[in-house]
Subunit: 307 residues, 2 copies
Amino acid sequence: MANIRDIAKLTGYSVTTISRVINNHPYVDEKKRQKVLKVIDELNYTPNRTAQNLSYGKTHNLAVILPFVNHPFYSQLLNGILEAAFSRQYKVSLLPTNYDTKLEHQYLEDFAAKSFDGLIVTTRSNHLDDFIPYFQYGPIIFCEETPDGKAPYAAIDLKGSLSESLTYLKEQGIQRLGLTLGRSKRISRNSKLTIQLSREYFPEFDEKNIFWDCCIGEDGVKAAAFFEERGVDGIIAIGDEISAVLLQHWTSSKKPLIIGREDLLISEIMGFSTINHHLKDCGQAAFQLFYENSQEQIKIPYEFIPR
Amino acid sequence: MANIRDIAKLTGYSVTTISRVINNHPYVDEKKRQKVLKVIDELNYTPNRTAQNLSYGKTHNLAVILPFVNHPFYSQLLNGILEAAFSRQYKVSLLPTNYDTKLEHQYLEDFAAKSFDGLIVTTRSNHLDDFIPYFQYGPIIFCEETPDGKAPYAAIDLKGSLSESLTYLKEQGIQRLGLTLGRSKRISRNSKLTIQLSREYFPEFDEKNIFWDCCIGEDGVKAAAFFEERGVDGIIAIGDEISAVLLQHWTSSKKPLIIGREDLLISEIMGFSTINHHLKDCGQAAFQLFYENSQEQIKIPYEFIPR
DNA sequence: GCTTGCTATGAAACGAGTTTCATAGTTTAA
DNA sequence: TTAAACTATGAAACTCGTTTCATAGCAAGC
C-alpha cells in the first residue's frame, strides 16, 4: 500500500507538497497539483487516518458507554447521538458495560490512552467520583443527572414526568399505588427518586407495593400476580414491555391503571398511558455538549401520554 | 501529558527499555522494571493508543455498516457483534447509512484509509460489486447472502423460514395469501425471494396482494384496510410491529392468520406466529468470520414459532 | 532602487509509539 | 577452553502523516 513518500518519489516533489495537495492548501503550482492528483489516483493512494490522527492529536472518535444496545431506551438515545455525531463527521464507538464496573473502568483507561476525543456516559456503573480523574483527557458527558453541578449532562426529566404521572393517577382516583423498579441491590438514583415522589403524592404509599428487580418484559408475569395479591389499582412501571406483560397477565376483571415509560407501539395497541422522554433529543443534546465542550446541565422536555 | 520519552529521561533508561516494560517483554532487569513502573505511575502515564496503532498497522477497531440502530433487527444483530467483538478486545464503530449510497461509499473510503481493521455490512445500500475494490483493505463480512460465493457472510436463513411459514399457512388452509414488503423502488433481494417462494407454495398467488413500502409499525393501519378489501386470509408480514398494528386495525370479525418475523414480545401478547431468526447468533458468527479472516458463507438456523 | 509582501517549495522536526540491529556481559555445552 | 547461546541494553530506523522554518523568486509600493 502506497504512502505519502511513495507519491513524493514518483512525482519528484517533496512530501510537503503532496501533503499540501491532499489538504487543499494554496501555494501549490497548478501543474504540480494536477500531476500529484494523477499519481495519487494511479496508485490508488488514500492517506492513513491513524497517522493523521497521531499528527492532529485528535481521533474524531466519540465513545458511548452504555449497559447494552438491545433495549429501546438505549437504541433511541444512541440514535440521537449517532445522528448528531455523523453530521459533524464524528465516528461513534460503542462500549457496552453490562453494568460491569471493572469493564467500565477499562473503558476509562482506553479514554486515557486517547482512543477517543470524548465520552458520552448514558448510564454509569461506577461512582461519579471515579470518572473525575478522567475529565482531563477530554469532555465526558452524562445522560443522567449528576448531583451538584459536578459534570455536564443531558438527561431526561424523570422528576417532571413522574410528578405528572403521579398527579394523573391521583386525579383518576387511584387508591393503592404500586411501582415496578430495577435492581434492588445498589438501588439507582432513579429508583430512589421514584419512591420519594410516590410518597409525596401518595402519603399513604406502602413500600411493600414495590415490585423489585423488574428488568425485562417477562418479569411482568410475576409482577401482575404480586400487584393483584396486594390489591393495587394504579402502577407506574419501569418500561412499556413490562407494562404490557403485566396487563396481559392480570387475571381479575378490573385492570389497574398503568403508566409505562417509553411510548412504544405496544402502549398504543394495548391502550395504556406512557411517557415519551424524547430520548433522541437527549442523545443529540449530549453530543452537542461534547462538541461545544460545554459544562451545561440540560433536562430534556418529556411528553406525558394519557390513555 | 507525558510520553514515552519523558519516562525514558526521568528514569535514565532508553525508550526501548520503557517500551519493553510496557509490553511485558522479558530481558529487562527486575530493578529497572520496578523503577520504570514507579515513574509511570507517578506521572500517570498511559501509552497513546493512536501511536501504537500506527506502529502496529492495526486499529483493533471494527466497523459495522447498518441503516440505523433503533430497530429490533439491527439492535439484536449488533448485540451479537458487540458481545463477540469485546470478548476479543475489539472496539466497534457504528456507521449508519440510512440507505444513503453516497454515505456508504464514504464509509468505504474511511475503510481504505485504514480507520478500521474490518467491516461488517449488515445491509448494504450499494451494489455488491462496489465493495469488491475495498476487499484489499481488510475483511468485509456481510450479513446478507451474496450471490455466488463472492464474499463471506453470516446471514439469516430467510429461504428456510419463509418456506416453513408458507407450508404452515398452507396446512392451516389459507386460501388467499398476502404479503407486506419493503421499498418498492429498488426492490431488495429478500423481497424478490419472498415473492418467488410465495408463488411456489401458492401457485394461485396474486401479486396484487402485496402491500408495498411497509416499513414502520404505523404502515400496518393502511395494510389492514388493504388486505381486508382484497379478502386476504393469511399474511406474511415483514415485521412483528407491523403485524401487531395490522391485527389491531382489522375490523371484520375473522382475523387473518399472520406471521411476523422478529419474535418480539408483542407477538406473544397478541398471539400471532412469528420467526426467531437468532440474530444475536448471526452477529456473533459475522464477527467470527472477520476474526478468522474466513471466506465461509454461513446460514444461521431459525426457529419458527406457530401460534 | 530598495523594502515589503506574496507565492512556492522542500528539508527536517514532530506526534508517540515499536522494532531492528549492534554490542557486550554471562552462562552453558562440548 | 572455546564456541555457542542467552540475557540485557540502547541508538537509530521505522510506522505515516503534518507542521515549522528557511529559502528564494517575483511583484507591488514608495
